[in-house]
């Protein structure tokens, strides 16, 4: 007899808060009132800031930017499960998560207005800037987690966030493989928002789930309702605890939906039906979370209205600050090519400034 089963696997799906705001009491995470309200605050801020930024882009006041609407539970809830001393290694569709990590909204506006100064966030020393080359940030998360541990930090972890399209990249597979082999304390969080620009999830992989890819790399994998902030928090929190205890990396697939365009340069009506978008509206993470908070009697319509008024003001304040800030140093890109000074670079800086001066003089 030579034919025998060496292994088999199953993948769990987790939902705690359903679309109608009903909670599974047995699975409900023990989150404080403060934490719940913080999460709600940033999810709401993210939604409203996203809308305002798209509006600014349409008016020509911002450049191309990615839309984040609909995925607030997927990118905000994980941040609640990590500490400031942990690493946040994201892609580019985690607006509310980055704000939660301490990035000022005004900096996000500067970045999408084409100035590197927007990534200058000393308030958030362990949040890497946005990473645009898909999955290339994932090996970095492995190195950050490994490096922190090697330097004596006993329980630091790295949270790496990426999309479903990224799972086709070699770096995704290489990073999971490295993390497994090095037993690196990394939480790989995939925001499966169903589309990589126009390409649907079915064309990225033949696997039934993205979560099951964890099996091949020797780590736990779970699929969660990515529009359920409680399920996302619980899955990430469990994975963080395992990582802190040196039990290695995990992969979490948060199933969500990109309600709007990939970026402002994209027209989703070319590749998906409006009916599909409509069907996901019912699963909106903000609506169900609000229902949950009301049921818990820590929220009501008046508070919601007050919060939205306050956030509107906060956002307008940031826009005002953004638009009043001018005069970024033109030769700043020469400052950060290298950590030390070189003749050829400084010579070109002088030429650049001279050319700029002449161009200004000549109008």
């Amino acid at each position: 007899m030579t034919l025998r089963t060496l292994d088999n696997f199953s993948i769990d799906y987790l939902q705690i808060l359903d679309e109608n705001g009903n909670v599974d009491k047995a699975l409900e995470p023990d989150l404080s009132r403060e934490d719940l309200l913080k999460l709600h605050y940033y999810m709401t801020l993210s939604r409203m800031a996203d809308a305002r930024m798209l509006n600014l882009q349409r008016q020509g006041r911002l450049g191309t930017l990615p839309a984040a609407t609909g995925q607030e539970a997927s990118f905000c809830a994980p941040v609640l499960a990590i500490r400031d001393t942990d690493w946040f290694v994201g892609s580019y569709r985690e607006l509310g998560g980055r704000l939660m990590r301490g990035e000022p909204l005004v900096n996000v506006l500067h970045l999408y207005n084409g100035f590197e100064e927007g990534s200058d966030n000393p308030e958030s020393p362990r949040t890497l800037p946005i990473s645009i080359i898909l999955a290339s940030q994932l090996p970095q998360a492995v190195g950050l987690a490994y490096g922190s541990r090697l330097q004596g930090e006993k329980d630091t972890v790295a949270l790496a966030v990426f999309g479903d399209g990224s799972t086709s990249e070699g770096d995704f597979h290489e990073a999971l493989n490295f993390a497994g082999v090095l037993n690196a304390p990394v939480i790989f969080l995939c925001q499966n928002n169903q589309y990589a620009i126009s390409t649907p999830r079915e064309l990225q992989t033949r696997s039934a789930t993205i979560a099951q890819k964890a099996v091949a790399y020797g780590m736990p994998g779970i699929q969660v309702d990515g529009n359920d902030p409680l399920a996302v928090f619980k899955a990430v929190d469990d994975a963080v605890k395992r990582a802190r205890e040196d039990k290695g990396p995990s992969l979490i697939e948060a199933v969500t939906y990109r309600m709007l365009m990939h970026t402002t340069a994209d027209d989703p009506t070319r590749y998906r039906e409006e009916a599909q978008v409509e069907s996901w509206k019912a699963r909106d993470p903000l609506i169900r979370f609000e229902k949950y908070l009301i049921q818990k009697q820590i929220w009501d319509e008046k508070k919601q209205k007050d919060l939205e008024d306050k956030l509107k003001e906060t956002i307008e304040q940031a826009v005002k600050e953004f638009e009043s800030k001018t005069g970024f140093k033109p030769d700043a890109p020469f400052d950060h090519v290298f950590g030390n000074s070189f003749y050829l670079i400084e010579q070109q800086r002088a030429q650049f400034l001279d050319n700029l001066k002449k161009e200004t003089e000549n109008g």
Binding site: S119, L128, Q140, S148, E174, A175, V337
Partner: protein
Amino acid sequence: MDKINMVQSLNRTLHHIMEADEKVLVMGEDVGLNGGVFRVTDGLYQKFGRQRVIDSPIAESAILGTAIGMAISGLKPVIEMQFSGFSYLMMHQLEGNASRMRTRSRGRFTVPLVIRMPYGGGVRALEHHSESKEVYFAHTAGVKVVIPSSPSNAGALLKTAIDDPDPVVFMEPKRSYRSFKEEVEDELPPIPIGEAQVLEIGEDLTVISWGAMMQDTLKAVKKLKAETGAGPEVIDLLTLSPMDAETIVHSVSKTGRCVIVQEAQKSFGPASEIIALINDHALMYLKAPVNRVTMYDVPVPLFGREQMYFPSQDRILRAMIQTLSD
């Protein structure tokens, strides 16, 4: 003082640095238990353990990508690409992340790491084991490219590279790994990145080379002196990027004649850049067109024909005589 070869010098330097600085870490394919396929990392695994000397899975992109994270976290990784011909799989991590993390974060996150790789031909190897593609790396702003040519300068430059605040591509001419030995001081005087060395001072002709071609160039220069009595000035570039324009321009302004010897193929190579520098800064001093001795614009042939394609001492000698008579 014992005479040692380039592999021994690099190895000794790594031992010294890892003893002195526990933030230095080595990672790559077969670098641990096996000590690297060329033995540059020999004995490190046994001395410093598997946490600091990592036998990585075979994935060049993740070797660099992981090292970028390690560097941001405060470590100083020294990673190895087993052969430069395998390094193209890490190019997007180099171009997309290592080279620009400093710019992207405005100096908040920096990537002090060294990417070691044997490069170049002359060791009778299989396909993909003989190329000189230093320009791929040198064309990337934010990356420093260093190429030693001797046991002494290999050790000194490796130390400088590890101490450097930026990503350094450290290309080791594998033909020179064991081809000659020299006395190497235990405490090597540092060689700054971005500084070329003038090996011989002369008035009649500037000869510039780097890497394994340096030895052939020096031998050809010796013949030239014996045969013609000319006094060539010989420059070992050592750093490809950022290039030492001052040393080159100073020398060519003095001699008015220049020959560049590169193992890389002709077009778009480092020699082209050196000629452009001379054009920018010393054109009016030239007495003759700048000459270059290079490989041809073909993929490096297998070793049966390889030597016919690389610059030979005879080609270098003829180029120098030609330039002196132009």
